[in-house]
Assembly symmetry: C2
Homo-oligomer: 382 residues x 2
């Protein structure tokens, strides 16, 4: 435990500043600073938000960032990161951080060999070696990494399989308790995860169980994994009524600008997603009127920035024609500049939503935003 | 011609501030600002210094940057860049710029079909299409691009082939005259290029011819193309005695820290090279004690920065262990962070040399620097 924490104990307090229907604006205190909510966390899978320096991350307005336990456990190893002073120091990020439990990646990336009540045996996607994660191991790794928010080890089931979801939910609950028991550091907030697929009764049961653990924050897992938007919204509405109002709610792995608005509308405070940087590497950018693929020939002579009134570094300095040239010429700078725009867009949206909630006009703000995105007959970016 | 230039005519004046033996410190005035010499120009081949934003370029201390006529002519096309307001605006760089003539790339990258006294027919390395460059065409392209310093179209011969060097030199001289005649813009400084391979008598003849053209600056081409360091130094000494002292001298395509020192020692003012960014993409970094490959296993647990007393962003924030992790994990950020360090190192060296010349202690400065690099029995970076 660092002396800084001994001098300034942090109890991960969540202060609700304003509520507008179900939408909430708050502040979550962590050892590395306060998080204004709603908030979007860029993802730094392998201890780097792809193609972006920490200085650029701060410029786009990032505060909380996420790193992946599964990836860092396999490479370079959580013990090496602990030896280097923890993840904050290793990757040069002094603001709050969150690590996931590794569960989601084990089920989606690792070749699963065996799942039992104790944990999961899987093959590393890097070298095929046999590896094992359990609730205790996940917490030990996350304590070595040293993020401010850590996640309970959970099992994410195929969303439409009711029998599997019942089983996975029961395991997720038992594993959450074991994570609580395994935890030794007092400067990390452990969040529980609600599972239950697309089944409202299972989600209700799971939310009640996780809420009763009285952890400093609660997460909603197993969404944005193949279900419809309507199903996701219905589940959020079920869970929103059950999770305690005085704790932050974190919707994992989401998403798009419209997903953020729909989540906040249903009581969500924290989001994370690889989408802004992944889209950027696939040449797509967010605009107020939808997604735009900047590599299209139609932009070859387009002097306009991606968005005329966007204040990001990319839009302030570069034309669509230049960005398209970088893409066609396979220049690395394309990924960097498009990532800057996409991250800025989501972070600005989170900040604008917070302001609207505090001003009490979130409903009109969100309707205007969604209307532009869903408006038919309009070319994005025009 | 922009109204800015009409209001502030620039005559590309070179002011020599100090001389220490043959080493020179000066200021070269261009329409986009003053260049303190000695200076190193990072290379932005395709209108981007690879993996680095213009803001990061300014942070590492870059002032003059170079872009390649050959590449930009083929893609996205010089006419498109002119339509977008020229290269400065296209790539978001408001400081001075230099474009080469395309000659070197035509001879090294393009599949040559025919060289005659009029120009060169070659195959595009991108799509195999047949293309032609001539002195007139090179100047027309460079006028479309709009850099502050433009280069005469030259022929770079194999350095040891005397007969070919005589022919290529004669062509280079004739082409320089045609470039002067073809030039129409008054806000660009055309530099001539000395050729002649490793042959002192040819170099003398070429330097005398080019000097007599009375252009605002003179360049030395056809070096660092396979000859020995001793041969390069000998040629620089021959040329240094002939080129006018009141014009800047530009050694093209060079190089390493030791090459910069050896060049300045022999009267060179301007350098450019892809080396710092290319090395970075191949995991190598400059240190005061030589080149270091940061991907080596020995750095896996090394908490130190690349260089303990380096003030670059990379060394101020990241350990060798982190940089090695980024490389092993194939993260794009590795190229960015190593490029920042390598560019900073060369730009700082140019600035330190300038200071030493002004202080009159360039000899001891350069001997100390070279001694550390060439010192045997020392592991780089230790």
């Amino acid at each position: 435990m660092s002396t800084k924490l001994d001098r300034n104990p942090v109890n991960f307090q969540f202060q609700l500043l304003a509520q507008d229907n179900r939408a909430r604006a708050g502040i979550f205190s962590t050892p590395h600073g306060e998080l204004p909510t709603p908030i979007f966390a860029p993802v730094g899978t392998q201890a780097t938000v792809k193609s972006i320096t920490p200085a650029q991350l701060q410029e786009v307005g990032a505060n909380l960032i996420l790193a992946n336990t599964y990836h860092l456990y396999l490479r370079p190893g959580d013990e090496l990161i602990a030896e280097m002073g923890g993840l904050h120091q290793f990757m040069g990020w002094s603001n709050p951080m969150l690590t996931d439990s590794g569960g989601f990646q084990v089920f989606s990336l690792g070749g699963i060999n065996q799942i039992d009540d104790d944990g999961v045996t899987f093959k590393s996607h890097i070298d095929g070696s046999s590896q094992r994660l359990s609730p205790e191991k996940s917490i030990a790794i996350q304590e070595n990494l040293g993020a401010d928010i850590i996640m309970a080890f959970d099992e994410c089931a195929e969303p439409y399989d009711r029998v599997y979801n019942q089983l996975a939910m029961a395991r997720t609950h038992a594993w959450a308790q074991r994570c609580i028991d395994a935890k030794t550091r007092t400067d990390q907030a452990l969040f529980g995860i609600v599972q239950g697929g697309i089944f409202p009764d299972l989600r209700k049961q799971s939310a009640e169980y996780i809420a009763a653990l009285n952890l400093p924050g609660n997460a909603i897992g197993g969404l944005s994994v193949g279900e419809t938007k309507a199903e996701m919204h219905q589940i959020l509405e079920v869970v929103d009524r059950i999770l305690p109002e005085d704790k932050p709610r974190y919707l994992m792995g989401v998403g798009t600008p419209e997903d953020l608005i729909n989540g906040v509308m249903r009581g969500v405070d924290i989001f994370d997603c690889v989408l802004p940087t992944r889209l950027a590497r696939h040449k797509a950018v967010f605009t107020a009127t939808g997604r735009m693929n900047i590599s299209k020939a139609v932009y070859a002579h387009d002097e306009r920035p991606i968005e005329q009134d966007c204040a990001c570094y990319t839009c302030q300095h570069f034309s669509r024609a230049y960005l398209r040239h970088l893409i066609i010429a396979k220049e690395m700078l394309a990924g960097t500049l498009l990532s800057i725009h996409n991250l800025y867009t989501l972070l600005k949206l989170a900040s604008d939503m917070r302001e609207a909630i505090i001003q009490g006009n979130f409903e009109s703000f969100s309707q205007n935003y969604l209307y532009k995105i869903y408006k038919p007959d309009q070319e994005p970016g025009s």
